[in-house]
Symmetry: C2
DNA sequence: TATTTTTGCTTAAACGTTTAAGCAAAAATA
DNA sequence: TATTTTTGCTTAAACGTTTAAGCAAAAATA
């Protein structure tokens, strides 16, 4: 029963003795086709198991109804949640998404962009790889004239839509919370300064420290790749100081986890000896011992906003893309690692 | 400088005063085109920033060079690693992949299949949703005549290629390990029996228990959805027994984590009072306290094999698809949760 | 009833490639 | 030198849709 030859509009047309054009219009509910014909066409289409050829219609219409999504990795609660929400919004509007991952590599990101452009996507929603400094490939997307929406990891210089949280304020929230817990020497294991969001967190940290008249010690501000391993290393480095911090704010949950492991291994009481706060609210922060306080980035909202922003762009192509930031407030989830008991 | 009008083969042809056909052949390195012409064409293509229109070539060639991947969720180390390896192998052969997630829902899985078929993928590599019992949509893929490759969660009845680990033997490995640790009452929180892999784990558990002449108590064998929450619930249920188990083998790491939380909350010593083994080797198993022993499913190898199997199918379309299982041996990673100290 | 508008289609071309078939010129062979 | 083969292209059609333009018949309007 295997029907290798695919049913086309022409097959339906010849069954009903009408033109292929009429079939196409009937299937698309054109107002100039009679209800009777529409019904007949749809019945035959079903009987013949007709599946429209997306390639042909996309080619003819110059629109693929596909949206490309690029994330550093899918294996993260934040990104997979953003993706899920992008998908939900876009599916309703007849778009499908193609997910690709850069694995934090600039080279992979470039090849992802090429792949997506090659597939003729109608737009790209992306969060940039850690490695990415050169913006040439993203400029290429822009020059194609299709919408480019960035989230979380973006870049002002691209002058496109951006959805993210307020990293600067988040740092303030964290420092304030730690001060309230009685901490007086707060360290920051931050991300790479060249990435805007991490730079904002660092700036927020510095300003908040100044605001509260705490010591702003160079040794307490460390740049990191924010992997588990690097979190371990940087925490070890902090413990080696003669004047140890009494709180550490880590700009990523994975690095915070590495830090926590080192603290536990050294029998340091968390949060009484050293309090710990992470960033990202990954599920494991509430699984480990002690549970880690962290910043929730509202992935649901970011995903929805990214999708809606794309829709607005694609439906109003006459409006020129400009820098357009939507900044959401983040939320600090206080857990055991920074909840000093009285 | 925004060049809205895309460069086509015709543009290149008119610059060089040759036919579009010659340009197409030059770009595809056809042997009947002179080196001189090829060079000229490639230079002009680059100058005009020519990007081939994938839709047109796919339509004409009847081949999209896209492969669809369906996973229950991307937010899992196992699946994201499988995907990464599928991608690596297929990219080298000129294929790109489209990732979709079913969120363990049958309905979503069906719509994913429709999307992928609509996009004219050349094949589908999938791991089935927990919910899926009816195979009609997968039959639809088969009836299209494109390769269908299943991994991890598959179904014999579909008679297609399958790559997975030996679940039956894995259960034996786990029970044997627990027996060696001195455990005498081993419980199993298993997945849904209707899913083949979970059924195999259950069968393996039962046979291994019999083999070692241990008590096969109905109360010790529980079916579960294997979420964190359900793991908590089922472990609570086990603790309520008058004759508690001294070891619990959980068929999924998330549920194992829920179980671990309940044990910790009840101040039960792991592994001395109750030993615990999970399944899947998710990264968090080595992050929690105590670390959880688990089965590694060789995601790298599964991804590669799935991709290679697809390539073999697509390059040999004349060979009829039949049930063709590639079963890899899994590996038990022993950690603190089942390492009884002497 | 004569004219205008609407309905329900058809015809033909197009989207941007690829490819089978063919042909003249050049090169190789006899 | 005559014949055959190879080279390097062109021509034309096709993949499966969509859509602008058009036209006859039916319906609405004057």
């Amino acid at each position: 029963m295997r029907n290798k030859k695919k049913t086309t509009i022409k097959d339906i047309a010849s069954v009903l003795n009408i033109s292929p054009a009429a079939v196409s219009k009937a299937l698309n509910d054109d107002s100039r086709i009679s209800a009777k014909t529409k019904e007949a066409v749809k019945k035959v289409a079903k009987d013949l198991n007709y599946q429209p050829n997306h390639l042909a219609s996309a080619l003819r219409k110059g629109k693929s109804n596909l949206v490309g999504v690029i994330v550093p990795r899918t294996n993260s609660n934040f990104f997979s949640s953003v993706i899920q929400n992008i998908e939900e919004v876009l599916n309703k509007e007849g778009y499908n998404i193609i997910i690709t991952q850069s694995n934090e590599s600039y080279k992979k990101e470039c090849s992802n962009i090429d792949t997506l452009l090659f597939t003729q996507v109608d737009g790209i929603i992306a969060s940039m790889a850690n490695e990415t400094v050169k913006l040439d490939y993203f400029e290429k997307v822009k020059s194609k004239g299709i919408p480019l929406i960035l989230f979380d990891r973006g870049e002002n210089d691209l002058n496109v839509d951006y959805i993210g949280i307020n990293d600067y304020d988040s740092s303030h929230m964290i420092v304030e919370h730690l001060v309230q817990q009685g901490c007086k020497r707060i360290a920051h294991i931050g991300g790479y300064r060249h990435t805007r969001i991490f730079n904002n967190r660092i700036r927020g940290y510095i300003d908040a420290i100044k605001k509260h008249h705490l010591p702003l010690d160079e040794a307490l501000l460390i740049e990191s790749s924010l992997t588990i391993e690097d979190g371990r290393e940087k925490m070890t480095q902090l413990l080696a100081l003669e004047n140890r911090p009494d709180a550490v704010y880590v700009a990523g949950d994975y690095a915070a986890l590495g830090s926590l492991q080192v603290l536990n291994e050294n029998n340091i009481n968390i949060p009484n000896d050293i309090a710990l706060v992470g960033f990202g609210n990954e599920p494991f922060t509430s699984m480990v011992t002690p549970t880690i306080s962290s910043i929730d980035q509202h992935s649901t909202e970011i995903g929805k906003q990214a999708a809606l922003t794309f829709l607005e762009r694609v439906n109003n192509p006459e409006i020129k893309q400009t820098l357009n930031k939507k900044i959401l407030d983040a939320e600090l989830i206080v857990r055991d690692s920074s909840n000093v008991k009285k």
